[in-house]
Amino acid sequence: MNSLLVNKLIDILLLDITFMITIGVAAMLLLAAGFLLLMMVNQRKKWLLQKQMSQLKEHQQNQLIESAVRSEEGERHRIAEMLHDEVGALLSSSRIFLVEMNTNNLSEDDKQDHAKVKEMIDESIQKVRTISHNLHSTILKEFGLNEAIRHFMKKITGGTVVNSTVDLDDEYQISNAETDLAVYRIVQELVNNLIKHAHPKLINIKSTLTEKELKFTILHNGDGLTQEQFEELRFKPAGLGLKNIQNRIILLKGNILFTQLGTGTFTIQLTIPVII
């Protein structure tokens, strides 16, 4: 009787153990699968949150850049107006007085000085006009981006050893005044930098318009930059001009690429998305 009871107890115990192990194994499988699933869902959520945060950060950064660029443009406009309307007007009035001066009673030396002063005032008027124009291009406003670039290139390389050619796509019409101004400033800064640092003998500016983008290619034979050098320089305090270029490109959601084509031949490709 006792041995029968013991055998029955052993049977129950064994059944319980096998049952418990089976349940335990199934539970472990569910636990592991559930953990893995939760981990993947959590990771995706975290990534989405991180993405949203970086988008927000980028948006804030763009707003800061935009406000800095706008304030810079406003200041340029103000200085240009003051130079043109106040200094320019003062110089023009001085010139009128100088021209109307009776020089008959002056000695030969004084006459020469008078002519010299008139010449210097003329030169000053011209310089004020040039600076004012560079700070705020009326041509850009009146005749559009292409004409402003042609005019700028003619003025900056005229009378120098730099030979420039401009081949712009006339299909491009004014799409957005702010975009045009930003592109103009980028081209202006790039060409100024080229003349100042790269000392090229030839600069060629070409633009092509496609359905989605406006592409500028600046080809030159000076001592140009590679993309790595550009990336390095724009983070240096001295590379303020390059930083401004990069800021404007960020605002335009465009792209800039510095490439060395061969010995002494470089290109700068500027790509701007446009809506036609």
Partner: protein, 231 residues
Amino acid sequence: MGKILEGVLDWSEVWATLIPLIVFIWIKPRAIWTRPLLIYLLIALLLGVVVDITWKSKELGIKDWVEKTFWWLYHGKYLYTLIFYNINSFLRLLLFAWFFYMVNPLYKKTYIVITGVFLIGVIINFIFFESIVLSFSSRLFTIEAAIILFYCLLYYYTVNMNDEIKSPLALPPFWIVMGLTLYTSVNFLIFLFYNYLINAETNYAISIWNVHNLIYIVLMIFIAIGFKKAK
């Protein structure tokens, strides 16, 4: 049908191991972390083949040859292949610790210390407490599974801390760690009670080992996917 399924599961430790090996030969992944896995797969294949041909020698008609070649596995008239399982478990931990050392190097010292202590423990266990030849070491298998599971958790922690990862499934080692997690967690209880079950409930022990074999197939498929993604 049942016989075929039984045969497929019995031989799974051989044919399933071939899946990642074939993928490895086909893809030739360059990632350095695939090396310990390749070594493990080759060892597992060799041990799997030896276990299965000695165990199934009668069905295969090679009983005499097995008796002559593997005479040292016989104790009395009984054949003991448990030594291969024990060696497999011991080498598996070493090689997967090496794998984790490479894919999650943040915890290098942890792997070295834990694996070192485990090695010492294994040696002491087989010298003083259990026979490496005559017993299935539930202690070895269970502790090995727990340690690998712990290494998996460390890996998940590192992945979870990295906000740059959009989907962990894009990481080739993640597939292998996922396979290891399933393998060790599901088999933990099987390993823990297996020594007892062999003696007390042999039929159940044989049946539950099929669950091990199924999860082993899953592990091998996940390793193969990891290799494929590591191209």
